[in-house]
Amino acid sequence: METLIILLIGILVAVATYLILSRNIIRVILGTAVLSHAVHLLILTLGGLKTGNVPLLTEADAPYTDALPQALILTAIVISFAVTAFVLVLAYRAYQDNGTDDLDALRGTNDE
């Protein structure tokens, strides 16, 4: 199961890298979103997929599954959600003001 998930993470990272390297800003943002999902899966996998019972003392016997990675991921998801929302707004404003969503055109010149 772990191997499968690791492969999935690899595919997600590859897709995200491809998207981030493109010139269209929306693709870059989608790339960062996919990338964050990949790392959430990575945290989950490295913490160990389901190895024991639910970590509730009264509900089940040891060994318990480590619940910490899920707490970490929850935090990371909230943060990446906020950042993605911000970047989308930023990209829209930049598109409105600069009139382009092509990153090559947003390079900027030295004369300005």
Binding site: G47, A76, V83, V87
Partner: protein
């Protein structure tokens, strides 16, 4: 020692910031409240710093969850010196903002976001948990994204997209490194990590993970991976650029020092050599940048890069003396860089030009301002008795002791470059024929010159009063060079 007070540097700015959001139309009230808050924070930091000297390292376990299970804050001298200087600099930059930032910014939540930024910065300095460090980084970064875009000029939006995307990527690397570390060692509490790394030995796997952390923090600190820095630090309004130049890279520097002195200190031949090489290259490339440009803001931004290289030389040498030198230099650099950015911004505000060969003879129009430029030049070049001297002396001493003559040479050649790049500003813009006739002279607002003078007093004090703060600095360096002190303070109580 448990103490609730050490959460205040995080929680006060957040709470006050939230309150200020509701006071949006009342600019005067916002100004007063934010300045009073920052001054109060300076007081609190001083109090905590002195408390540490008598009671040892303080810690706070949130929710009563004892380490290594809960998240905790740890305040040692090293962290508190950073917090104290950061708060002083923020207070002064706020004063500068009052007269320069403009009503549009003030009505668009400028003050709340400065407070959120400083909350994130303080949290990063104080946390004792690596994942919590990530969270505090994000708090700081989100506030900085807003501040860098606030105003919405074309150049600002263009540069901020790059700034935001590069930081999202570096945060991603941070999470990957955290995932690997948790998978390997099963903990994220810094003291506990240090203990487990020491027990298990820092094998190839852990060294690789440490290099991943090195990449992440280098991106934040602008060590070698600083390509994003000059662009994004030269577009926002002066007060914000000064805050960024003074504080944001320092958080990365703090994280580098913390991880590579507390956790990954077993393989210095790999990690610390790598840091040394990166610092050396940063010094060289930063120096080239500082000479290459004529835009005062770009010159200032490349000076930030040079300073990062210099401070990290201290980490690469990894002796008690070099740590002391770096700590002195960080404190000096926060103050002097804020001053440099404020001066660069004021020059642009006074003349309307950005390039040094387009301005001339400012000292005739604004004598006091001209002298301030002179002080910041001397201070950053490390001329005694100003503050840069002590740090440079100690780092140089450590480099000679360790026999790292290449780093020594690079560090001091870069100081000459700093002097040259700033003298270029001084000779071109401050000296020379005055081009502004007395009638066209834009008056230099008191609100602009007073913060600069305050920072100048700060740099003089840090230089002359080096003896006064040496106790704190050597305590901080002692903790850095003896990880057991930190571990004992965090885990000692419950074993």
């Amino acid at each position: 020692m448990m103490n609730n007070i050490i959460v205040l540097p995080l929680i006060i700015p957040i709470m006050v910031g939230v309150i200020l959001v509701f006071l949006r139309p009342y600019i005067k009230t916002q100004r007063v409240i934010s300045l009073v808050t920052m001054l109060g924070m300076v007081g609190i930091s001083l109090y905590i710093l002195n408390k540490i000297q008598t009671e040892g390292i303080l810690r706070l376990d949130f929710g009563g969850w004892e380490p290594p299970f809960g998240i905790l804050f740890v305040a040692d001298s090293f962290a508190m010196l950073f917090v104290l200087t950061a708060n002083i600099v923020t207070a002064i930059c706020l004063m500068y903002a009052f007269s320069s930032i403009g009503e549009n910014h003030e009505k668009m939540f400028f003050y709340p976001f400065v407070l959120f930024l400083i909350a994130g910065v303080n949290g990063s300095f104080l946390t004792g948990d690596l994942f919590n460090l990530f969270v505090c980084f994000e708090v700081m970064l989100l506030a900085s994204y807003v501040l860098v875009t606030l105003g919405g000029k074309k150049a600002q939006l263009r540069e901020s997209i790059k700034y935001v995307v590069i930081n999202i990527l570096s945060s991603w690397f941070f999470l990957v490194a955290l995932a690997y570390l948790y998978g390997t060692l099963g903990t994220l509490n810094m003291a506990h990590l240090s203990e487990r790394v020491a027990e298990a030995g820092q094998g190839p796997l852990l060294t690789t993970i440490s290099i991943l952390f090195l990449i992440v923090f280098s991106l934040k600190a602008g060590l070698l991976l600083f390509f994003w820095l000059p662009g994004s630090y030269s577009v926002p309004p002066t007060a914000i650029a000064a805050l960024f130049g003074a504080l944001l890279t320092k958080v990365g520097i703090y994280a580098l020092f913390r991880t590579f002195t507390l956790i990954f200190y077993h393989e210095p031949s790999i990690t610390h050599t790598l840091i040394g090489i990166m610092a050396g290259v940063t010094l060289v490339v930063g120096s080239i940048g500082a000479i290459a440009y004529k835009d005062v803001r770009l010159i200032s931004s490349y000076n930030v890069v040079i300073a990062v290289g210099f401070i990290l030389v201290g980490l690469a040498l990894a002796t008690q003396t070099s740590f002391e030198g770096s700590i002195y230099y960080v404190m000096h650099d926060m103050i002097a860089k804020a001053m440099l950015f404020l001066i660069a911004g004021t020059m642009i505000a006074l003349t309307g030009k950005t390039k040094i060969d387009e301005m001339s003879g400012l000292i005739r129009n604004y004598p006091l301002f001209g002298w301030m430029v002179f002080i910041v030049t001397c201070s950053l070049a490390g001329i005694p008795p100003l503050s840069g001297f002590v740090g440079k002396l100690l780092v140089g001493e450590a480099a000679i002791e360790a026999g790292s003559y290449i780093l020594l040479a690079l560090a001091f050649i870069s100081s000459i470059v700093v002097l040259y790049s700033l003298l270029r500003i001084f000779l071109n813009s401050i000296f020379g024929e005055t081009i502004i006739s007395p009638e066209d002279e834009v008056p230099l607002k008191k609100g602009m010159i007073i913060p600069i003078v305050l920072l100048a007093i700060g740099t003089v004090f840090l230089g002359l009063g080096a003896e006064f703060i040496s106790g704190y600095v050597s305590d901080a360096a002692h903790t850095l060079s003896n990880p057991s002190v930190y571990i004992e303070a965090v885990l000692g109580g419950n074993k």
